[in-house]
Amino acid sequence: MDAILFLIFAGIAVICGLNLVLQKHPISSALSLVGVMGSLAVLYLLLGGEFISMAQLIVYAGAIMVLFIFVIMLLNAGTERPSRRRLWAQYAGVPLLAAMLAIAFYIIQRALPPSPGVHFGAFQHGNPFDIGIKLFENYVLPFEVTSLLILIAIIGAIVLARKEIN
């Protein structure tokens, strides 16, 4: 059952990822990315990450993708034109990426010890309580630095997007 669920949602993720790369219109790519993020949230739940699964849905599929779609609609972005330049990337890119994927497969198969498989419910430390304990005991300093980073990002976004007033 776990394997079937994995295969279904991994298939959805790969198909949506391919669709993201192949579609010509940015709004289709954005909707495909929402599909990838939703199926990844289900996979996180299978791996026992309840908190991170919900955060994925709310932060990524909710907030960030709404921002993307909002910008696409604001800029009225249309279908992209095929470019005649970058021949090197067009021809060498696909074989190089296939080689990268093959090397990754080989390393994953060789380096991993044989595991009993991923069972839903076997990992018990992904709930918000345990995450909060870990976050505020072991990772307090990165957490605070992250708040500073977000403050800088807010100021940067406001400065970049403001209207010039003379």
Partner: protein, 106 residues
């Protein structure tokens, strides 16, 4: 037809992560629209998050969840600043094609 295992091995998750990462790299290399390039970067970040959480399952600790949470936060900050930059570029150039935004080249 070989019998399906009852539980997906950990390597399947890592292979899915590798596939999604390579798809993100492909989108980054081949697409011309700056917003789609940006979305490919988000796809790569998601792929890395998946392998963080898969390894976290394997090791029985939730440190990987914390790291992928930080990756999400950084991605949110990056999306806010990046989309503001895209808005500014569009306001000044009236284009989203990355081939035409090349004044820093050479």
């Amino acid at each position: 037809m070989p019998q399906l295992p009852s539980a997906a091995p950990l390597s399947w998750y890592l292979i899915l992560s590798a596939i999604l990462f390579v798809l993100g790299v492909a989108g980054f290399l081949f697409r011309r629209n700056i917003i789609t390039v940006f979305m490919s970067i988000e796809l790569m970040l998601n792929a890395v998050n998946l392998s963080f959480i898969a390894f976290s399952y394997q090791l029985g600790q939730n440190d990987g969840h914390i790291f992928s949470f930080f990756v999400m936060v950084v991605a949110a900050a990056e999306a806010a600043v990046g989309l503001a930059i895209i808005l500014t570029v569009f306001k000044n150039r009236q284009t989203l094609e990355i081939d035409e935004i090349s004044s820093l080249k050479n």
